[in-house]
C-alpha cells in the first residue's frame, strides 16, 4: 500500500513494539492485517508523510494491479486523494478490494459486515472516484 519498504517495515515494527506489553491470544492474523492497514492509512492521511511517500514512491514496488478501480490501479496518490473524502469503513474496504484484491465475500468475513454493506460501500467509493476525476477535469 505504501510502496515503500522502509515505511512498511516501520509500520510492522512499531505495531509489534506496541503490542508486546499487552500480548495475548486474541491477536490473530486478521487482527494484525487490520491493524497494519489502519496504521498505513494513518500514514497516508498525514499530509507530511503523504508528500514524502509520493515523492519516494518506489517503482520496484509498483502494484501488479489484478483488481482495478474503474480501470485504474489504486496507488498512493489515489489512496491519498480518497483519504480526504472517505471515512474509515470505506477506506478499509477500498484497501481490502483494490490493494489486497479480496473478494466481496472475503471482505465481509474479514471486517465482520454483510456482503450487501460491502457492495454499497464499493458503490460509494466508485462515486467518490468519479467526483474526484470530474473535479480534476474541471
Amino acid at each position: 500500500m505504501l510502496r515503500s519498504r522502509e515505511d512498511a517495515v516501520d509500520v510492522v515494527h512499531t505495531l509489534f513494539a506496541d503490542l508486546l506489553p499487552t500480548w495475548n491470544s486474541d491477536v490473530d492474523l486478521p487482527y494484525l492485517h487490520r491493524a497494519v492497514t489502519n496504521r498505513c492509512l494513518n500514514l497516508v492521511r498525514d499530509r507530511g508523510t503523504r508528500a514524502r511517500l509520493l515523492e519516494r514512491e518506489q517503482v520496484a514496488a509498483a502494484p501488479i494491479g489484478r483488481v482495478r478501480l474503474d480501470d485504474e490501479i489504486v496507488g498512493v496518490a489515489l489512496l491519498a486523494a480518497l483519504a480526504d473524502r472517505l471515512d474509515d469503513p470505506h477506506l478499509q474496504i477500498l484497501v481490502c478490494r483494490f490493494v489486497d484484491d479480496m473478494t466481496q465475500d472475503e471482505i465481509a468475513a474479514h471486517l465482520a459486515v454483510s456482503r450487501k454493506t460491502v457492495g454499497k460501500r464499493l458503490d460509494r467509493i466508485r462515486e467518490a472516484v468519479i467526483a474526484l476525476r470530474r473535479e480534476e477535469a474541471s
Binding site: A17, L20, L29, G48
Partner: protein, 225 residues
Amino acid sequence: MTACIGEPISWPRLERFALAAGDPAIAAHVEACPACRQCLAQIQGDVVELPPLVMRPGRPGVVAPELARRAAPSARWRWLVPVFATAAAAVIVLIVVRRPAPPIDGFGAAIGVKGVGEVTLELVRERAGATELDARRYAPGDRWKVIVSCPPRAAAVAIDVSVDDGLTVDHPLAPAQLACGNRVVVPGAFTVTGARPNRVCVTAAAAPGAEGGTACATLEPADGR
C-alpha cells in the same frame, strides 16, 4: 502481466498459501494464472528480516510477555504499580537527560547538524538477504547501506560516505541529497573488500560541502585477521 484468468486470489490468501501450501484449489489456480503466479513469486521472494526490537530507556512498560506474567502483582498491591512506574520513568528520564550514554562510534546516536537539527545515522549490513543493524564485520559479498533520520521540518540533508581504504572499495556511494524523514535510506550501497580494518565515515550536512556532523565506524574483516 496484470489480468487474472478468473477471480484473483487475494494477497492474504496467497500469503497463507505461501506459508503452508495446503489448498489444492489455489495451487491449481496459481499453476494456470500467470498474474497470480507473479504475485505468489513476489511474496516468496520478498522475505524481509526485521531488525531486532530495541528496548529503549524511558519505556519501562515494554517487557517480554513471559516476564510480565511472572511479575504480575497481586490485586492488593496493584494500585502501587502506576506510582512505581511513574517514579521509575522519572528516574530513567533523569539518568538519560543528565548522563547521556556516549555513542560507541557515532552511528545510532543523535548528532547535531547546523541547519538540519538532530540527525541519526545508521549503518546496515545486508548478508545473503538478511539485514543487520550495528554489524561491524565485513565479508565478501556483504552490502552496506546508510540510513538517515532527521527532522521532517528540515528541507534536506546532504550525505557523504567515505572509506579510508579507497583501493578496496568496490562500489563507493556517491554524495546524495535527501528529503528528511524517519529512517530514510540513502540510495545505493557499498561493499568493502580486503583483509584489514576499514574506517567508514558518513557525514551529514545541510548542503553539499557544508560543515556537518560525522559518524565513523571501523569495519573488521569477518575472519578476524
